[in-house]
């Protein structure tokens, strides 16, 4: 019971911390992010298991964590509001070649991030060639180019 409550507390805490980190933080993992992930998982493991390394506890906790994940996915499917809070929402950051600077500042996305995505995904050269740039829920940026008028 103790381990289960600790694990659920750690799960909820990590979820909140990752949401606080923001969408862009999640999208690209640098070496620093990788090290941070390793350290966080080590710290979380100690708090979840305490000194109980029994097979039974491991299986019970894995079952509980996967179960929570399943329950959350069902809740997200049935209640769009839950999905918004857990996963966030997509956000347009460039519209018809114009950067929406207030949104970009709050989302901590700069023009260089957008142009990098534009070059990588669409081979575009200038921001005016972008019809829409969308900051997706996972933190990546998708680009919809201006279609050439026939």
């Amino acid at each position: 019971m103790d381990s289960l409550l600790r694990s659920l507390a750690i799960f909820a805490f990590l979820l909140i911390m990752l949401r606080l980190a923001g969408q862009r933080t999640l999208s690209e993992m640098t070496s620093f992010d990788f090290v941070l992930l390793l350290l966080v998982s080590e710290t979380a493991q100690q708090a979840m298991l305490d000194m109980d390394f029994s097979l039974t506890t491991s299986l019970l906790l894995i079952t509980a964590l996967v179960g929570v994940s399943v329950v959350l996915s069902i809740l997200k499917f049935r209640f769009p509001r839950v999905e918004k809070w857990l996963d966030g929402t997509a956000l347009i950051v460039v519209e018809n070649g114009q950067p929406l600077r207030d949104r970009m500042r709050k989302a901590r996305v700069d023009e260089e991030d957008i142009m990098e995505a534009a070059r990588q995904l669409q081979g575009l050269e200038r921001i005016e060639q972008i019809k829409y740039a969308v900051l997706e829920r996972g933190g990546n940026i998708t680009i919809i180019p201006v279609r050439d008028q026939a």
Partner: protein, 166 residues
Amino acid sequence: MEGKHKDLDILEDVDHQDLEWKLEWAGWLLMAVLFFGNLLGFFGRGVFNDAHVGEPGAALQVDYQKRERYKAVSSMTLRIDPTLAGTSPRVTIGNEFISKVRITEVVPEPAVVEVGAGHQVYQFSVLAGNPVNVRIFFEPFDFGTSTTRIGLEGSLQYEFQQFFFP
């Protein structure tokens, strides 16, 4: 406002996003408070957590921490003056504290340990002369508040609150 964009098939909710950004800032502020609180010793050794009971020159004085953490080994220091407490001082520790911690070591080792109603008694052999320090190392295995009672049997008794974080 939530709704499909006029041109792009995407469900945006700018109001919700604004609320999220505000909560993000509030969350960062809380993280900063926790970080600096931890740095200043709110959760461990430090100016905000170290506490002392007992007047200078008393037979017994106690240095302790107001807040402890579950399973984090910590210690309490008892300063015993043998000129006032005698050379075989009997230190009593209340059961409420004992029931929440595992005492892992007492340095120096007591000569006798006895269990009484509502408390345990640790008797030490102390050379006559200057005050001595006894350190009690312990590990909390429960969380919540504890009214810790420590004193000398039949005389000085101290009572203070401690909080054990989960």
